[in-house]
């Protein structure tokens, strides 16, 4: 966008200061000082914003802006990944006056958000998880967190805690982010013991409590003793697994309270970080990031505290790996690697750090995962 006018920003600051407020405060609280007219920001969720999972992780981040003067947050939940999201975006723009919109679900990106962005070139659209390219409209972009590293850390703890050497993963749909999480969980566990396998069950959609519970029971029947997941609302899986005496690694938000004796750790989002950056940029009339990614070092992803049952060797490896991840550009996908059909998917010598764009196109499950992408 063409908002490269730092002078106008200063003039704005000056005029605010001249209006009687303290100039010193502007440096300390940029969000407050820069708010000329209220900035309306729209957040769109595919499920309930209190799902104790993915949508809640976004809604909690959105809620942190509600109290900030000069920012108006508008939200809509339970918006399906259909034309419904176009209507939601249009009503946010036309009725609420939103000039920055965050559609947060994977399926919103193409074609819905891209088409709407073409229609409203003055509004900024930032999508969570989409694979944005320069060919997409100039007022769009995407952001995501390298939570695969969190699943890698989950895998390390799971690898230490399993007795049967069989882990389980309950997943919604075989999309790249999910596959990366499954593979990362496996690699983390295999860094402890290369004999470990990960059995995967796909339920087919983001929120199917009965199927998720059935999947947890079926995995428990097969002798799996540590379970993790990638569904929108992990509560049912955690409770069912705990009821069967399994350990669980969480996802999206910290859910240790549901099963304190079974919850080992978890990979959790911290969306407040990218949202804060986008909103600050928008308020400052700076160009907004278009391909924004970050992991644990950037504060996009964090881990739930380790449960008290986690053993000392597990803690040691967890802490050491976390320290390595904090250095940035951590790589777990290193060639040669085969998928679970025997095909070489990562050639020898090839190393993909967490930021590698190839990982966002992942379409395979590594050797050691029992499961299928179709």
């Amino acid at each position: 966008m063409a908002y490269k006018l730092p002078i106008s920003r200063r003039q704005l600051l000056k005029s605010t200061a001249a209006g009687g407020t303290m100039l010193a405060a502007t440096g300390l609280a940029p969000l407050r000082a820069l708010a000329a007219g209220p900035l309306t920001v729209g957040f769109i969720y595919v499920g309930s914003k209190d799902d104790y999972g993915y949508n809640q992780s976004h809604a909690e981040a959105a809620a942190t802006f509600k109290k900030m003067p000069g920012i108006k947050v508008v939200e809509e939940e339970n918006v399906p990944e259909t034309n419904a999201v176009v209507e939601t975006m249009e009503s946010m723009i036309n009725i609420d006056g939103a000039s920055l919109v965050f559609p947060t679900s994977f399926g919103y990106f193409n074609p819905f958000m891209l088409a709407t962005a073409k229609k409203y070139p003055k509004v900024e659209f930032r999508h969570c998880g989409g694979l944005w390219t320069k060919a997409d409209p100039a007022n769009t972009g995407s952001y995501f967190g390298y939570i695969g590293m969190g699943q890698y850390l989950n895998g390390i703890v799971a690898g230490h805690m399993t007795k049967s050497k069989k882990l389980g993963f309950i997943a919604a749909k075989p999309i790249p982010q999910v596959l990366l999480n499954i593979n990362s969980f496996l690699l983390g566990a295999r860094s402890v013991d290369p004999a470990i396998t990960v059995k995967t069950i796909f339920t087919g959609d983001w929120n199917l409590p009965v199927k998720e519970a059935e999947a947890a029971n079926a995995l428990a029947d097969q002798g799996i003793d540590v379970l993790t997941m990638h569904v929108d609302s992990p509560k049912v899986i955690i409770q069912t697994a705990a009821g069967r005496g399994l350990y669980v690694c969480g996802y999206h938000v910290d859910q240790a309270a549901l099963a304190p004796a079974n919850y080992l750790t978890g990979a959790n989002w911290n969306w407040a970080k990218p949202y804060h950056d986008f909103i600050t940029e928008k308020l400052g009339h700076k160009p907004l990031g278009q391909f924004v990614r970050g992991g644990i070092p950037e504060g996009f992803v964090k881990m739930s505290p380790l449960g008290s049952m986690v053993t000392a060797p597990a803690r040691k490896q967890f802490d050491a790996t976390l320290a390595d991840i904090m250095k940035g550009n951590f790589a777990i996908i290193k060639g040669p690697m085969k998928d679970n059909t025997g095909k070489i998917v990562v050639p020898a010598g090839k190393i993909y750090p967490e930021s590698a764009i190839e990982l966002e196109k992942m379409n395979y499950l590594l050797e050691g995962v029992i499961g299928s992408t179709s």
């Binding site: 087919g204 009965v210 059935e214 079926a218 509560k235």
Partner: protein, 309 residues
């Protein structure tokens, strides 16, 4: 944690039996309730909304009172209220029960979402299980045979209704009203009043089915808890030809078929899971087509039912 030894391929039949017992109960209650309603000559598509609302109110009351059974009672009362409302509106002339049912479905789901927000995160006390697998040393079998009292109540109700429709005064009254309102009026029955009661009982049972969902299996309240089970159960009544025992077995079949996809993936049959998940629906279509007829209406269909008239 103790790691039970894997049971391999036995996991598939076991998961289907276990799944049938665990998953079928909401189907049983909604379908039996709907059978009562439809036998009186009304169809209540609002059962899905009643199921979801029952799940929410059951969970909420269980959290607030600490008693899961009070939750079931509350869900039953509220479900009855929904049924009464449907029956009352439909007692006016020229009101379409299907349209009202769809409106009631939306109302029930909407109210459940509106009032259910504070209950998503807390954990409610669960209904206790009856360990019918005590005789087995295999933990998987013991878990599969952990049966909830509501399941047994569902079986008892199916047997009772099967008998009562034929052998009791109220059962016969219900069927007369359902088969011919004119004949019912001729013998001095009030069809609207009987249908009101039948719809209320149907709603109350759907409410109990909802409480089972949130308080036993999967045992949590969230907005996607039913995944359309209330609607499936209404279809199941037609599938079972308005026969209570048929409803019970059809519910078991749907529950077991629903467990198939997960069970097959857990033993390593990983291809084509979307197809396995469609199994219950494919089964429904096949049976519907196989038993359809050009020359006569559905066997067992109440004559007054708007869908078969």
């Amino acid at each position: 944690m103790s790691a039970p030894s894997a049971i391999g391929l036995w996991g598939v039949p076991l998961a289907m039996i276990g799944g049938a017992v665990r998953v079928s109960t909401p189907y049983i209650f909604v379908a039996l309730g709907e059978t009562i309603t439809e036998r009186s000559g009304r169809i209540n598509l609002g059962q899905e909304g009643t199921l979801v609302f029952g799940a929410m109110i059951g969970y909420g009351v269980a959290i607030m009172t600490g008693s899961a059974w009070l939750g079931v009672a509350a869900a039953c009362v509220c479900g009855g209220g929904f049924g009464l409302f449907h029956g009352w509106i439909c007692s006016y002339p020229k009101v379409n029960d299907i349209a009202i049912g769809i409106a009631m479905m939306q109302l029930g789901v909407g109210l459940a979402i509106f009032f259910g927000k504070p209950f998503i995160q807390p954990a409610a006390p669960h209904l206790p299980a009856i360990p019918l697998g005590w005789w087995s040393a295999v933990p998987q079998i013991r878990v599969a045979l952990d049966v909830n009292a509501l399941f047994i109540l569902g079986l008892a109700l199916a047997l009772f209704l099967n008998w009562a429709f034929r052998n009791t005064r109220y059962g016969l009254m219900l069927r007369v009203v359902g088969d011919s309102a004119d004949a019912a009026r001729a013998i001095g029955l009030n069809p609207d009043r009987l249908r009101l009661y039948a719809t209320a009982i149907g709603g109350a049972m759907a409410g109990i089915g909802g409480a089972y969902l949130s308080l036993y299996y999967p045992g949590s309240w969230n907005e996607g808890i039913s995944s359309g089970q209330g609607l499936m159960a209404v279809a199941l009544v037609i599938f079972a030809r308005w026969n209570p025992l048929g409803c019970f077995f059809a519910a078991l079949l749907f529950g077991g078929a629903g467990a198939l996809g997960a069970a097959l993936q857990s033993v390593g049959v990983t291809q084509g899971y979307y197809l396995f998940y469609a199994a219950p629906y494919v089964l429904t279509l096949i049976i519907m087509i196989a038993t359809s007829s050009r020359s006569h209406s559905l066997i067992g269909a109440p004559g007054e039912l708007s869908i078969t008239k």
